[in-house]
């Protein structure tokens, strides 16, 4: 591809790349060190804590549903916190990261630096995708871990020793309960990865991070509106937000996997489409 020019010292070797691991580490350090990422992770970590405190303070016996389940049921709290954060707060964390990843870097003029190094455009998108995924994992981990810790503190080890009281009324052991929380967390990361990929696609066509935030969060709200219109029921299978409530399936016994599997499949479709658009647009982007 590159013609070595003879009879001068101007011989070029083939394409050379910086080590991928080094680029990914550098990207992760950049993403996770950002003040806004850290602040938002802190806010997310507060959610299970606030929920736990709220429940203990009100502590109304009787009634049913998720919230009353948490009292005396430490391991339900992380799942409840994830399900509360999923519609907006967690997607916001991922969307912010994706907005900064391409649009923000472009606005700062730093995208040019990376392309001139050079980092090939395909690698650039993949590295950025890893960065966004890292934020998704960190955000979910913040909610889940603080949820578990808060549950343990508020309900006490004795309450959790029996494991988890499921919505179906049965009791599962602590090991199985932790596994269920992990499943909920992993499923949430999958949904956020889909949101992140779409956000990265929007990020690849603009240099205004705000446009990315508006488009993705506006889109999620619009999905919610559409799914509330009975005449548009036929749209349900293509809306990402359809079935986001299935996260509470992990609290049922026996564990129904259909909902979780089909929503994950839908997320995978969004993920692929988002990444494909981001790759295609970045390949021709003027930086």
């Amino acid at each position: 591809m590159t013609t070595p020019v003879p009879a001068s010292s101007t011989t070029l070797s083939g394409p050379v790349h910086a080590p991928l691991g080094r680029l990914v580490r550098s990207e992760l350090r950049w993403v996770l060190r950002r003040p806004r990422t850290q602040i938002w992770l802190g806010i997310l970590a507060l959610i299970p804590v606030l929920m736990g405190i709220g429940i203990v303070v009100t502590d109304s016996p009787g009634g049913s549903g998720l919230f009353t389940q948490i009292a005396g049921n430490g391991l339900v709290l992380p799942v409840a916190a994830l399900s509360i954060s999923l519609p907006l707060l967690l997607p916001l964390a991922v969307t912010m990261a994706a907005a900064d990843a391409l649009a923000g870097e472009s606005a700062h003029g730093t995208l040019r630096g990376l392309l001139l190094a050079p980092v090939s455009r395909t690698r650039l998108v993949l590295i950025k995708a890893v960065g966004v995924l890292a934020v998704a994992v960190a955000a979910v981990a913040a909610v889940a871990v603080l949820g578990i810790v808060t549950g343990l503190v508020l309900v006490g080890p004795s309450g959790t020793a029996h494991g988890m009281l499921t919505l179906s009324g049965t009791q599962v052991g602590p090991g199985s309960a932790l596994l269920r929380v992990s499943l909920a967390a992993a499923w949430t990361v999958g949904q956020l990865a889909a949101v992140g990929a779409v956000a990265l696609a929007v990020s690849s066509v603009t240099e205004h991070p705000l446009v990315v935030l508006a488009a993705v969060l506006g889109g999620l709200i619009m999905f919610g509106v559409l799914s509330a219109v009975p005449a548009l029921d036929w749209l349900q299978p293509v809306l990402l937000t359809t079935g986001w409530f299935t996260i509470t399936d992990v609290l049922r016994d026996p564990l129904p996997l259909d909902g979780l599997a089909s929503t994950s499949l839908r997320a995978a479709c969004y993920l692929l489409i988002g990444l494909a658009v981001a790759l295609a647009r970045t390949a021709t982007r003027e930086a």
Partner: protein, 322 residues
């Protein structure tokens, strides 16, 4: 395409010339209905320091962005270091350092951390060499003492210096600097000149765009002048300056007599406050002086008139401006 690009290089090496560091043919860029760059052909010999001059909006930055494959030409081809861009960008760009459209860094990171991030993406830097390379280039641009401060707190000049540092992280074969002295104080401007001179001495090719003519005249071996997207002059600095109509300034109190004598001899001339300026087309200084002395003109001083770069620039761009 590969074969086509190899042929001119081979021909060039027959006459013992290295391949040009930059070769541009028919470069054109259109944004909607605006023609930003139209039909630029340019060869920059390896080892040259090319100053790209042009008024604001003349297409300097657009051209540079196309050279570096940041932007795709509407038409035309670019070769850097003998290889076609953007096809060979992966092989070429590691050897190219560039500061384009001002420095771009993250405000929440320190200057050092910003450079570390740039260094991580440099293919020619081994991971072990990164800390030394970063510290070395920080002191080279005079930022060693401010390296730990956040970029947010940097002055315009310090930002510009950091941008320069990123371009010089690795020894480069080609360095492209777009308005490198923007926002720099006189000391900073001098530092940039020193750096360009060092790069030149080290054998690197340098392309500097600027609207500061004095700076270009002081540092460049070659000049290209862009106006409204077209290349209106290009060549070695000395040739361009001499290329303006050669003339002779004659200081004399007897301007009228001198003018008459010269006109009679068919030599073009014009009157100046201190004497006459003689057009040297078709004649030479000894003839002119002999003629004037023969006509009884008191010749106090004779000086070859050289076009300054700013005069040349004014001539070239005059009348074209909107």
């Amino acid at each position: 395409m590969t074969a086509g690009s190899a042929t001119p290089a081979a021909t060039a090496s027959l006459v013992d010339l290295p391949a040009p560091a930059i070769r541009v043919r028919g470069l054109r860029k259109v944004f909607g209905s605006t023609v930003a760059v139209s039909g630029v052909d340019l060869d920059v010999p390896a080892g040259a320091v090319l100053g790209v001059l042009g008024p604001n909006g003349s297409g300097k930055t657009t051209m540079i962005r196309m050279l570096l494959a940041l932007s795709r030409p509407t038409a035309g081809t670019v070769e850097l270091l003998g290889a076609p861009m953007p096809a060979a960008a992966g092989a070429v760009l590691p050897h190219v350092g560039a500061l384009v459209e001002g420095p771009g860094f993250h405000p929440f990171l320190s200057g050092r951390e910003n450079l570390r991030r740039c260094a991580a993406a440099e293919p020619l830097l081994s991971s072990r060499a990164i800390p030394d390379a970063v510290e070395g280039v920080l002191s080279r641009v005079g930022l060693a003492s401010a390296a730990g401060r956040r970029y947010r707190a940097y002055s315009l000049g310090m930002k510009q210096r950091l941008g320069l540092a990123a371009a010089l992280l690795v020894p480069r074969r080609l360095v492209i600097l777009d308005e490198p002295t923007n926002g720099l104080d006189p000391a900073g401007t001098r530092d940039v000149r020193t750096i360009i001179a060092e790069l030149h001495a080290g054998g690197a090719t340098v392309l500097v765009s600027s609207h500061l003519l004095a700076e270009v005249e002081a540092t460049c071996t070659h000049v290209a002048v862009l106006d409204q997207g077209s290349l209106i002059a290009a060549g070695p600095l000395a040739a361009l300056l001499d290329g303006g109509a050669p003339a002779l300034d004659v200081r004399t109190p007897d301007s009228a007599v001198a003018m008459q004598a010269l006109r009679e001899a068919g030599i073009g001339c014009s009157i100046r406050p201190t004497g006459v300026r003689v057009d040297l087309a078709g004649t030479d200084p000894p003839t002119v002086v002999a003629l004037l002395v023969g006509a009884g003109v008191a010749v106090h001083e004779v000086q070859r008139w050289r076009t300054g770069l700013d005069e040349l620039f004014a001539q070239l761009t005059e009348g074209n401006s909107p």
